[in-house]
């Protein structure tokens, strides 16, 4: 690699030269610790720092908080703020690798324009560690103490001078005027870095770490961690690879103007997985501790093919209880659960339109509203821009993120199928802030739509086979597109049986379509309710939807099952089918979790290594049934 020499006496001039076109951000002292801050006086620069409180790249490129856009009744749109050029000066290898992992999250599959703008305007001058910090274990993941790629320049301290390796054209511009490095410089560099490597005594055995962890989900070490952990979330704040965030709408006192903001969030927080009606998907602290550790040590690699842990050691340094991944992994390795077959989840490939700003809702107008039950309505919607409406297409079972400005966004499945031209439909129950606001809207009102997102039902795989559709309650809404899809292509599918269960008759959806469905050739519709209140007429089955399994006549060996409903209902449907000899390869479920982005970035919807928004919401049960922590 091309390299030059920068004598320490020249450092001031070098920085001054950079400051002509860039804002220079470098390590300065804060109390007894260090942070990255704008450098005005080069005397303040502390290049011999051990670690910083917040990782520099994450602090300035991912940003603890920012405004996505402003709105006044409807979308104003805000192009990502133009960022001036800046240089991160003195980034350690661990933090640089953390940035490269964040790049995978934010720049691939629905590139985030805000992150991109900042990333492209930030030059990275890395700094190899010649005296490693006390808590780091970067060598275990090959993410330190020296940097190999991803920098514009990389400095190594050789005593009275730095050797400066060039990593890009941008970097080459910066070293004009420096003399080339000599052989002695290279030798001194290598010797110094080898010595540094050997000083790192803390190690994690990274071989097969994913498999080991999956086999030891119930290891007693996790119970002990739960007793100690304060659930303060400091570990995630300081982690260079953590990306999770939340999104919220704010309005001012006029109630008409406001902004949509995003801010760092944490899977360690109790409310991270909270949805409407205060339902929490991960209430147990032990499950959350495991999620964080597993995410860093294996899930991240499965999700993004990049290291989730760069061994910077900050989580240990900042933890009041010193909960330490090195220690935990060592304890598991010393006393592991017996070997068992483990297949690590790999997410499906997703193709998207990269020029799209994934954050900008498109304006759509409510064409008509049909009340299905007192708290469920079907909205027929069309995009305001006819070209957008013309181009809009989607698979059965995918979802949109619906914005009511000033209130927020909610992820809702599309309840129509794309054969319906000019409009699309959502069937929505009013349970929380956004859906209750939607319930107040009228024909002609404007909302925002982002989407479609996710993988839908396997309508291709179902061709030539029998189809068993099992729906519970509101779960019929995301399955209705399947019924419509099959209806329009009836001869491509075998026998079709629809099983629909609700708590009571008044809760049933799409009642005016049942006759039409029964008229679809070779199609049977079975209805059931849990109970019938006095005074209501009901002539069909009474009992949970699994009681209908005795009445079906599809060919078990050649059927695909698609099911959706409350978690508890899907759990028992799957259990029952498996007991009856059905196989997990033929069962598909549609899951829901909290979603703030829909584009595999905010982390709210994670279920182990799975992102429900992009790897789902429809899943083949066989693919997810072995996830640590289970599905339902």
């Amino acid at each position: 690699m091309e390299a030059f020499v920068l004598p320490k006496a020249e450092l001031g001039n070098f920085v001054a030269e950079l400051k002509r076109d860039n804002e220079v951000l470098g390590p300065v002292a804060k109390g007894e610790e260090y942070i990255f801050a704008p450098i005005d006086d080069v005397e303040a620069l502390c290049l011999d720092y051990d670690t910083t409180i917040l990782p520099p790249a994450k602090k300035f490129i991912h940003m603890p908080g920012e405004v996505l856009f402003e709105f006044e009744d409807a979308v104003e749109g805000k192009t990502p703020e133009k960022v001036g050029k800046r240089v991160l000066f003195g980034v350690h290898a661990c933090d640089l690798n953390g940035l490269l992992s964040l790049d995978k999250v934010f720049l691939e599959t629905y590139p985030d324009p805000y992150y991109k703008e900042r990333r492209e305007n930030t030059a990275i001058i890395a700094l190899n560690c010649v005296s490693p910090c006390s808590d780091g274990f970067c060598a275990s993941f090959n993410t330190g103490p020296s940097a190999d790629i991803g920098f514009d320049l990389c400095l190594t301290d050789l005593g009275d001078r730095y050797i400066v390796e060039v990593g890009s054209d941008k970097g080459r511009e910066m070293v004009k005027g420096l003399s080339a490095a000599s052989n002695e410089d290279y030798i001194a560099r290598n010797r110094s870095l080898r010595a540094a490597q050997q000083q790192i005594t803390r190690r994690i055995d990274a071989d097969n770490l994913g498999v080991l962890l999956h086999q030891n989900y119930d290891h007693p070490v996790w119970q002990e961690a739960k007793e100690e952990c304060l659930a303060c979330g400091s570990c995630t704040s300081v982690c260079p690879t953590c990306y999770c965030f939340g999104v919220k709408d704010y309005v001012d006192l006029t109630l008409e103007k406001g902004e949509r903001q995003r801010f760092w969030d944490s899977c360690m927080f109790y409310e991270f997985s909270r949805v409407a009606m205060d339902h929490i998907f991960m209430p147990d602290r032990e499950a959350r501790i495991k999620h964080r550790m597993y995410h860093k040590l294996t899930y991240y690699q499965q999700q993004f093919e990049a290291p989730g842990c760069v061994g910077c050691g900050r989580c240990v340094t900042t933890c009041i209880k010193r909960i330490d991944p090195v220690d935990i992994v060592a304890r598991i390795q010393a006393d592991p659960n017996p070997d068992k077959e483990v297949k690590l989840y790999t997410p499906p490939e997703k193709k998207v339109k990269p020029e799209l700003n994934p954050w900008e809702p498109q304006k759509a107008v409510i064409k008509s509203i049909k009340e299905q039950t007192p708290d469920v309505r079907t909205y027929t919607i069309s995009f305001v821009d006819p070209e957008v409406q013309e181009a809009y297409t989607y698979d059965p079972g995918v979802f949109n993120l619906i914005s009511v400005f000033g209130i927020g966004e909610s992820a809702i499945s599309i309840s129509s199928c794309a054969d319906l031209k000019g409009v699309f439909q959502h069937t929505i129950r009013a349970v929380g802030n956004v859906t209750n606001a939607l319930a107040e809207l009228k024909e002609g009102d404007i909302i925002g739509i982002r989407g479609p997102f996710g993988f839908g039902w396997p309508v291709e795989e179902m061709k030539g086979k029998d189809v068993l559709l099992v729906a519970g309650g509101i779960g019929l809404a995301p399955l209705r597109p399947v019924i419509k899809y099959i209806q329009a292509r009836r001869d491509q599918y075998g026998k079709f049986e629809i099983l629909y269960g609700c708590r009571t008759p008044e809760g049933m959806l799409f009642t005016d379509e049942y006759d039409e469905w029964r008229k679809i050739p070779d199609t049977r519709l079975h209805l059931t309710v849990d109970m019938v209140p006095p005074g209501i007429e009901w002539s069909h089955n009474i009992g949970v939807v699994t009681t209908l399994f005795n009445k079906i006549s599809v060919d078990k060996a050649n059927t695909i099952v698609v099911t959706c409903g409350p978690d508890i209902m899907m759990k028992f449907v799957v259990l029952d089918l498996l007991k009856r000899g059905w196989s997990p390869e033929q069962i598909y479920v549609s899951l829901e979790r909290r979603m703030s982005c829909g584009i595999k970035k905010c982390g709210n919807c994670q279920m182990g290594p799975v992102f429900v928004c992009q790897d789902g919401p429809v899943f083949r049960y066989a693919d997810i049934m072995d996830l640590p922590g289970g599905v339902f």
Partner: protein
């Protein structure tokens, strides 16, 4: 749309949370313009009977008279908000619950004549009635108040996040007081929303906003012992602003 009607009530407290409403000076007149304040005895001489859309109650309940008033207030207010640490958890008035004296001993200590005072242990108002929202802190945070009013004007749940104060310290890159100075800071088990006001100024968090969601007070109590606090000191930490809460009680009982 008609402006929502608002009422401010006070029980056993210092009146600081009500004063904090008047401390919104730059936007006070905007807020007053957006709502209809029907009952606010500290600021107005003309006050009107209920019902009200939103009622803010400051102060802990310590006497039968307050309890009866509270029940009436709950009926009169569509949305009831506990304003400040005293109304949320009992606050400083709840320190008397744990001081080891009986009610009679306390009365004798403070008042030289005995007369029928009928004072009982101090609790936050949700001990007696259902509460729709909480404005935690001692005093409550002015910005949270505005957010709550704005959310209420839109008919929304403000969805405050009650994670730990540590998160706010990290975002400000504060030096952690526990790790760098051995100060027994309660931030890791205390609900955020104040911007880590005290730790940012070198003062360990005293827990005035009550417990964070799913906090682990017992583990922090053990850490305090390791920092050199005596058992009595640890109990004092957890029995100050929110000693009534089950979470902080676990901390006090852990040692």
């Amino acid at each position: 749309m008609a402006k929502p009607t608002i009422a401010f009530f006070k029980f056993s407290s210092c009146a600081g949370c009500q004063l904090n409403v008047l401390n919104l000076e730059p936007i006070l007149l905007d807020i007053v313009g957006a709502v209809d304040i029907r009952y606010f005895v500290m600021a107005k001489r003309e006050n009107f009977e209920g019902p009200y859309d939103i009622g803010f109650v400051e102060g802990a309940v310590t006497s039968p008279r307050e309890l009866m008033e509270l029940k009436k207030i709950r009926e009169e207010c569509s949305i009831l908000v506990a304003q400040g640490a005293c109304a949320c958890h009992g606050g400083i008035p709840s320190v008397k619950n744990f001081c080891g004296m009986t009610q009679k001993e306390m009365e004798e200590k403070v008042y030289t004549e005995l007369w029928d005072l009928k004072s009982f242990p101090a609790h936050g108002i949700d001990y007696y009635v259902k509460v729709d929202a909480y404005l935690k802190g001692c005093p409550m945070d002015k910005d949270e108040f505005v957010m709550l009013v704005t959310s209420a004007l839109k008919g929304l749940n403000p969805l405050f996040r009650y994670h730990s104060v540590c998160n706010e310290c990290k975002l400000k890159e504060n030096n952690c007081l526990v790790l760098t100075k051995g100060i027994p800071c309660m931030g890791s088990v205390t609900a955020a929303g104040c911007g880590a006001q005290c730790p940012s100024l070198g003062r360990g968090c005293e827990g005035c906003r009550g417990p964070a969601s799913d906090c682990n007070a017992a583990s922090l109590a053990r850490t305090f012992i390791d920092l050199g606090l005596s058992r009595d000191d640890v109990v004092r930490k957890f029995r100050k602003y929110a000693g009534n809460t089950p979470e902080f009680s676990k901390g006090a009982e852990a040692v």
